[in-house]
Amino acid sequence: MASVLGWASAALVLVGAFFFLAGTVGLLRFPDVYNRLHALTKADNVGLGFVVLGLILQAGSLLSAFKILLIWLLVLASGATAAHLVATAALRGGIKPWKHR
């Protein structure tokens, strides 16, 4: 049973790491700030989410599992708000969305 949990945890953490990688690649490769925001929020929400799920499976106590979950929820809320604010500021600042030519 413990080893099943261990394997599941490892798999989830690795999936999370993949999303962080995808976020970083998107950050470097996407053409403008709005596209990059799109890549960034995947890493924020899904990447950290999978890492947190993986760690919760290994958490020693209910309390620490709850704390890790709370951290993810906080990052969800503040990450979404920050992305929204940056996009608003970029639009207001006159950065034009990229169009495929």
Binding site: G16, G23, S78
Partner: protein, 92 residues
């Protein structure tokens, strides 16, 4: 299991290093700011992994503080620091 967590933490740290390119190249200030935001989230993940790998529960508190304050810099950037278009940046 601790080795895997440490490995993933190292991988995420390398992600941060590569992401620095986006801060250095910009081209616009919002690009740089959103990269810093991503670094904050990555830092939270690294701290959580380290807390579990090294059995240092105090690092979970560090991650909690980082998660709480992650948005403060971005909010200050949007509301106080960045007023107008960076025309030079768009030409790059």
């Amino acid at each position: 299991m601790p080795e895997l967590y440490l490995g993933v933490a190292t991988f995420l740290l390398l992600n941060i290093m590569v992401g620095l390119i986006r801060i250095l190249r910009g081209p616009t200030p919002p690009d740089r700011m959103l990269t810093a935001q991503l670094f904050g989230t990555t830092g939270v993940a690294i701290l959580l992994l380290l807390a579990s790998a090294l059995s240092l529960p105090a690092l979970t508190d560090v991650a909690l503080v980082l998660a709480l304050l992650g948005a403060v810099a971005t909010v200050a950037f949007v509301l106080r620091a960045w007023h107008k278009p960076d025309l030079d940046g768009e030409e790059e």
